[in-house]
């Protein structure tokens, strides 16, 4: 993460430099989210802290948590995908049954409109399910919330780094 953090923000800014109108908001959120996390990571590497730097760190983390939902759809597990596919299939069959009952009473234009509405509804339900099932509740995401209080209690975290010990185990 440390080496990735040195360049990811600028590389992302370069890669997402020309968004169209539909992408602009998402790209901006993604850039902001990554930037705040990198800023937090850099500030956590300080060898000494002041109350100001700790408050900056907390603010960076809060802003990251507010904007991180843009990456939520990329945290879909296989089980959630399977459940979403199953739900999609069931809905498709249900809608096909309803369509078969009153197909003789509708014009071609009405049928097209109804097909579009069904597609949108299926897509919305799939998105809702994924949003409901996905989360960032994992241990690494939780640990970073304790960094500021750890520094207040025990000092800078750089002296607890395990990098040197890990390096000694390399062949």
């Amino acid at each position: 993460m440390r080496n990735l953090g040195h360049c990811i923000s600028a590389v992302l800014a370069s890669a997402l430099r020309n968004p169209d109108s539909s992408q602009y908001h998402d790209f901006k959120s993604a850039l902001k989210s990554v930037s705040w996390l990198v800023d937090f990571s850099l500030m956590a590497q300080y060898r000494s802290h002041t109350p100001d730097t700790l408050s900056y760190m907390e603010r960076y983390l809060q802003t990251f948590h507010r904007t991180k939902d843009i990456f939520l759809k990329f945290r879909t597990s296989k089980a959630t995908c399977t459940r979403a596919d199953r739900q999609d299939q069931e809905l498709r069959e249900l809608m096909a049954d309803q369509r078969a009952k009153d197909v003789h009473h509708r014009t071609v234009a009405n049928r097209c409109r109804q097909a579009d509405q069904e597609r949108v509804e299926r897509s919305d339900r799939r998105a809702n399910l994924i949003r409901r099932e996905n989360h960032f509740n994992f241990i690494k995401m939780h640990y970073v919330t304790h960094v500021a209080s750890h520094v207040r209690g025990f000092g800078s975290i750089s002296m607890y780094s395990t990098a040197i010990g890990e390096l000694a185990h390399k062949d």
Partner: protein, 243 residues
Amino acid sequence: MRWQTIEALTKVKGVIVAEDSGMETPAFSSHSTARRVLKGCMKNTSMLTELCTTLNIHYSDMMQEILRFTRQTAADDRRLPADPTELGLLPVEGFAQLEIPVADFQETDRFQIHRARCTGTKAFRNGGPRNDWVWVQTGGEANYGDLRERVVARLLALFKIRNILSEAGAVHRLALVCILDPVNSGRFHIASGHIRVGRGVNGRDMRIVSIGAVIGQAKVIPSGESQWIVNHRIDLPTFNEIY
């Protein structure tokens, strides 16, 4: 980058360079500040014409920039001659590397050595030519917004020129750089949160600066045609100076 303490840096033998002027002092004295070191002496660069040929730089451009630099320096016996003919006869040495000690963040007695390379048109280690990006301190010439009086520049030549016509025989250690102009007056781009730099449209972009004005290596990432994004999150010192 290699970590060095100030004691290790003061043990470097050879030339002694004044930190702010980039001028070599011929006397033997102990100098306790961290100093920039030119390395990788190029062959066949004993005069300005030869240096320009080796690095594929127009001689007229180089001469024009040296004269401009000379006019901006203090008029003393160390100053380079203002006559192009005399200037062309002065002995020159070209170099391929500049070692810049950069004070570590929150550790004033430790330095990171930035090795800025400038190979001109020659290949670097069987790859393409390497002319690194550096930070150049402008010293109040312009504010440059959030860049805080510093600009991004590409190294085009590193050389030493000895003023044999003066009694002091001072050696000037200079760098020819191509300076990039900050986009939006050096302010952060709102959407991306980065500062962008680009080639100037009309103004001159090549400049001669003393190596004392080169304050570290810059990291930029290409963003479209003739624009670059400044990566200010590359290390802690840069992160704390540009915000």
